[in-house]
């Protein structure tokens, strides 16, 4: 029975070895794909950055402040549908959870399935809208405009708001950041607004609606770059881990194989010796 166990272990090890080798191939190819997507995303982000930063300038220069009203808070959580990308989605989910715990009167618009999965269990009633089919193709302005239009059409009212996303820093690091969102009321009550000439509510409305789309677009671009670089790192680590497992398993496999051969030899020799001594 020792022999049978030895052979079975050998087969089990070789099955395991084969599957880990396959996993390594998959993670390596995922890393390549992510690297290509990351390069493209970073290039597009570089072109989108002046646009995104420019879109925030007015609110800074006019010193617009979020209101402390009873209409509550709006959080737009930007993530995507696909996983295996490190801490990208969980960091957003964590911050939304602590925020809702601090301000229960919060509505969340979720862009991407992953954060929806994180929030659905405990905070399903705070979820106002979910956007899916995100992340497969690079975001274009039309996508952000669509989301912004849906938010506006749904008539969600808020006193203060923020867009939560992962700002891209370097290939190996990203930072979960928030961009403030202001209601039309907050803009109208801004301390430096009287400095701005000839503004009527139409202009303010069009301006805030357009900047919602612009800020969303910018956050999507930053998040996409962070996601791809994070996935690249995660898959690279997974490949390295798989490689280590393969080394260890190969070592075990060879040792087991040699042990099996040695056992067979011992049995044959001791069998032969027994026959000899019998004779």
């Amino acid at each position: 029975s020792q022999q049978v166990r030895g052979m079975a272990t050998l087969k089990m090890i070789s099955i395991r070895l084969k599957s880990v080798k396959n996993i390594q191939k998959i993670t390596q190819s995922m890393k390549m794909v992510s690297a290509a997507k990351y390069t493209k995303a970073e290039r597009e982000l570089k072109l989108a950055r002046p646009y995104g930063i420019g879109a925030q300038e007015f609110y800074k220069k006019a010193e617009v402040k979020g209101e402390e009203g009873e209409k509550g808070q709006l959080i737009i959580a930007v993530s995507s549908d696909r996983g295996l990308c490190g801490a990208v989605h969980s960091s957003i989910g964590r911050i939304v959870k602590t925020d809702i715990a601090a301000n229960p009167n919060t509505k969340v618009v979720i862009v991407g399935d992953k954060v929806r999965n994180i929030l659905q269990r405990l905070y399903a009633k705070n979820i106002a809208m979910v956007v899916t089919e995100v992340g497969r193709k690079p975001a274009v302005f039309g996508d952000a405009a669509l989301v912004a239009q849906s938010i506006i059409n749904s008539g969600i009212e808020f006193s203060k708001g923020k867009i939560l996303f992962n700002a891209f820093r370097t290939v190996v690091s990203f930072r979960t950041t928030e961009m403030p969102l202001y209601s039309q009321n907050a803009v109208a009550n801004a301390s430096k607004l009287p400095v701005y000439d000839s503004l009527d509510s139409d202009v303010i409305q069009s301006y805030t609606e357009f900047s919602l789309a612009s800020l969303l677009f910018y956050s999507m671009k930053e998040n996409a770059t962070s996601e791809q670089s994070s996935r690249m790192t995660a898959m690279d680590n997974a490949s390295k881990n798989a490689g280590e497992m393969i080394d260890k398993l190969t070592m075990t496999f060879n040792r087991t194989r040699q042990a099996v051969i040695t056992r067979e030899l011992i049995e044959i020799i001791s069998g032969a010796a027994a026959l000899e001594t019998k004779n």
Binding site: E44, L47, A48, R49, P50, Y51, I53, G54, A55, E57, F58, K61, A62, V140, F141, K192, V195, Y196, D197, S198, L199, V203, I204, S206, Y207, F210, S211, S214, F217
Partner: protein, 160 residues
Amino acid sequence: MALTRSALRLFSGRFTQACQVRGYADAPSMSLTFAAPSQVLYNNISVKQIDVPSFSGSFGILPAHVPTLAVLKPGVVTVFENDGSTKKFFVSSGTVTINEDSTVQLLAEEAVPVDTLDISAAKELLAQSQSQLASASSEVAKAEAEISIEVSEALVKACE
């Protein structure tokens, strides 16, 4: 609109000449960031003047222009750079912000240099949008067709 634009340019010519006479120390600077979602045209570049088409009328922006916000209309944005050259871009829509410190953010949804426009394609688009309007059934479809006509008319005008 064309009249006001050319009148503005006459006026601005005199203004900039006066600036030059007064000398560099007196001339205030204006920093322009003109960007579209997928391209950067100017990023905090100092320019002399910017003419923008907006829903509240076309106007020229000079340094120390009063702060304001405006919504862009389909049309041509003309940037007068510090070295005297002029560049024209067609914009589809967007916003312009002029701040107290003379920084200008011109955010356009689409912006292309005017010399890349093809007038025959623009005329074709105009004809298409006009037939779209004729066959439009719902309010939304009508509004979309009207917007399309507005953009294509401005495109044709920009090419001429």
